[in-house]
């Protein structure tokens, strides 16, 4: 399991000091990192798919957290990015709160039943756990975040 988790998420999936000024800018900057990491084939294509999903209902789930996600042909390897933004961003959240914790999920349409999809599902469920959320918010280093996600 730990080997699978390491291939799913490592230091390069985590940004502790994202400096975006809007929701779109945050998604764009994180998409660029996914491209650099080799998880998506097109920054533009993925970005558009995430915004399309965003336009249906907000992914600002409350408590300063957002989980933008895109199931996109541009994704070659299902994964996620974690980011803490320096300033809180307007995200049209369910509870009206501004967002500084972002989990960007990138899903390939070809990954039905895939282990990575299970991990995203599992992580999504844990976001309902107040202890997990407060630990994520308190974490100050990449390593702390990695350990929490891998727990």
């Amino acid at each position: 399991m730990s080997e699978k988790l390491s291939s799913f998420i490592s230091e390069k999936n985590i940004v502790m000091d994202l400096d975006a000024h809007t929701q779109d800018e945050a998604i764009e900057q994180l998409s660029e990192i996914l491209k650099k990491n080799g998880n998506i084939s097109s920054t533009e294509g993925f970005y558009e798919d995430v915004l399309k999903r965003e336009s249906m209902t907000t992914t600002g789930i409350g408590k300063n957290i957002a989980i933008p996600h895109g199931k996109s042909e541009s994704v070659t390897d299902t994964t996620m990015m974690f980011a803490k933004n320096k300033t809180p961003l307007e995200w049209n959240s369910l509870d009206g709160s501004k967002v500084n914790i972002i989990f960007l999920m990138a899903v390939s349409p070809a990954t039905q039943g895939n282990e990575h999809l299970k991990m995203l599902a599992n992580l999504s469920g844990r976001l309902m756990d107040d202890d997990f959320v407060s630990a994520i918010k308190k974490a100050k280093t990449t390593e702390e975040i990695l350990n929490l996600i891998k727990e």
Binding site: K71, L117, G125
Partner: protein, 104 residues
């Protein structure tokens, strides 16, 4: 005996809200001392599938869905609360309370 709830969660992409809604329903049902089983209909297909016995034995059904429920004929004749996944993610307690209100 504890009241029994069965629920189905499903969102458009089947990636995140399906699973958040499932966890939040479980969290608040447990808090109130109810038994709950949740079937997720997400990108990985039907998981934790509810048996006909589960459904027949339930006091109330919750559909936390943004899309159509697969094999919904299993629930014919049951009292069903239908809500969106976002509503349940935002306020799991309210969803449980509303469902129980139906079968008071």
């Amino acid at each position: 005996m504890a009241k029994k709830i069965v629920a189905v969660t499903a969102c458009i992409a089947g990636i995140a809200h399906t699973y958040m809604a499932a966890e939040n329903l479980k969290k608040y049902a447990k808090k109130e001392g109810y038994d709950i089983k949740v079937e997720t209909q997400g990108a990985m297909g039907l998981e934790n599938r509810l048996s006909q016995d589960d459904i027949d034995g339930a006091d109330v059904v919750i559909f936390a869905v943004d899309t159509t429920v697969q094999e919904s004929d299993r629930f014919d004749g049951k009292q069903i609360l239908k809500v969106g996944t976002s509503e349940v993610v935002k306020d799991g307690q309210a969803a449980i309370d509303k469902a129980m209100e139906l079968v008071k």
